[in-house]
Symmetry: C2
Subunit: 218 residues, 2 copies
């Protein structure tokens, strides 16, 4: 394998080992020693790939984010009616399976940890807030928002709802399961959107979620 | 001072020292040694009051919760119209000043930490979810909920919204400030409640907090 690719691959393996350590022991257990052990490397080898602990953590977190972003990207590329697309994106952001719950847990532990490292922390690091603003603007563009809706406040409300659900999906996955998350998100999106669009199509919105309505797509 | 009272007071002082350490260094810095130092005690003296670290953390967290509960209790005792009471309680749960943001931060760090300690963790430890269920039931009792509302899902949605807002108030207090939190919560409560009630009481509820009706946003 060319050296460059090997280097990249090795960094990724170390990042994955970092996630496993964080999941098992929390951030307080995510020492270079523990991560090196988990990755099957010497401490010296670990430091070759990541000179500092902050480099390592930063990279491990960016990788979590990239994975989530790639999944969202896949949905945005799909040919779906606007409201359905928004619903699918929201349902992708809230973790509803073991893999995404684990990612959320790593991300969350890191967020709390990074609070105490001044240079590391950016409140909008995950891009979710700006994403929510875009989704509200997107619904508005298709005249799907109820009249008189304050878009700024709706974006903030949606952001709080989604992050709160994500938090609860992680902390209490038995109650806050996929079906329940679906119902909460559906209920929320319906409450801020007009209904008429779907009625003029002779279809209830819920049905539209399972398919159809592609005439909304430009 | 009688010995019993002194013992209680000292435990409280140690709990407060624990909060300060967590705020400064995160949970990973909340060692017995650091806490003893912050409290001005020897390690032996600390262990006299709290035989184990888990005892200490558990007590420190219960104290955060008690403080929050006491503030909410104060509101529930007030003579306010039901919707206004609900709004005030919600606005008390979401941290909007330095003291409550600090409490939230301690609580949050602890929650993440406790995830990795099996016996310590209870997803409903803070009682907020059951509180949200009670608030929705309370609004329903006064016929304030819109017709056809699914109370179970509304409680879950309100819980997610409140915890998400609390999280954001902590992580990004400049944007998610008191005024903005007010607007989001107002908007939410209005969206699930009927409007008529306040007119029969000769009181416009919105005035009590800010602005009026669905057009206060521009």
């Amino acid at each position: 394998m060319p050296k460059q690719i090997d280097h990249k691959k090795r960094r990724r393996q170390i990042a994955e080992a970092t996630w496993r350590v964080i999941l098992k022991r929390g951030m307080e257990g995510a020492s270079a020693r523990n991560i090196a052990k988990e990755a099957g490397l010497s401490l010296g080898a670990l430091r070759h790939y990541f000179p500092t602990q902050d480099d390592l953590l930063d990279f491990a977190m960016k990788l979590v984010q990239e994975k989530a972003m790639a999944r969202i990207q896949d949905i945005t590329m799909k040919d779906l009616p606007p409201k359905e697309k928004v619903l699918h994106i929201l349902l992708e952001i809230v973790p509803t399976n073991e893999e995404t719950i684990r990612e959320m847990e790593v991300w969350f532990a890191f967020t709390v940890y990074a609070r105490h490292k001044k240079d590391m922390y950016d409140a909008n690091h995950d891009g979710i807030y700006s994403g929510m603003r875009k989704l509200i603007a997107y619904l508005d563009e298709f005249d799907l928002l109820k009249q008189g809706v304050d878009k700024d406040i709706e974006a903030e409300r949606l952001y709080a709802l989604i992050d709160g659900l994500a938090l609860h999906a992680m902390l209490d996955p038995v109650r806050v399961n996929k079906e329940r998350i679906n119902r909460v998100i559906m209920q929320h999106v319906e409450s801020i959107c007009v209904e008429e669009i779907y009625e003029t199509e002779g279809k209830k919105f819920n049905k539209a979620v399972k398919g159809n309505g592609s005439n909304h797509q430009v």
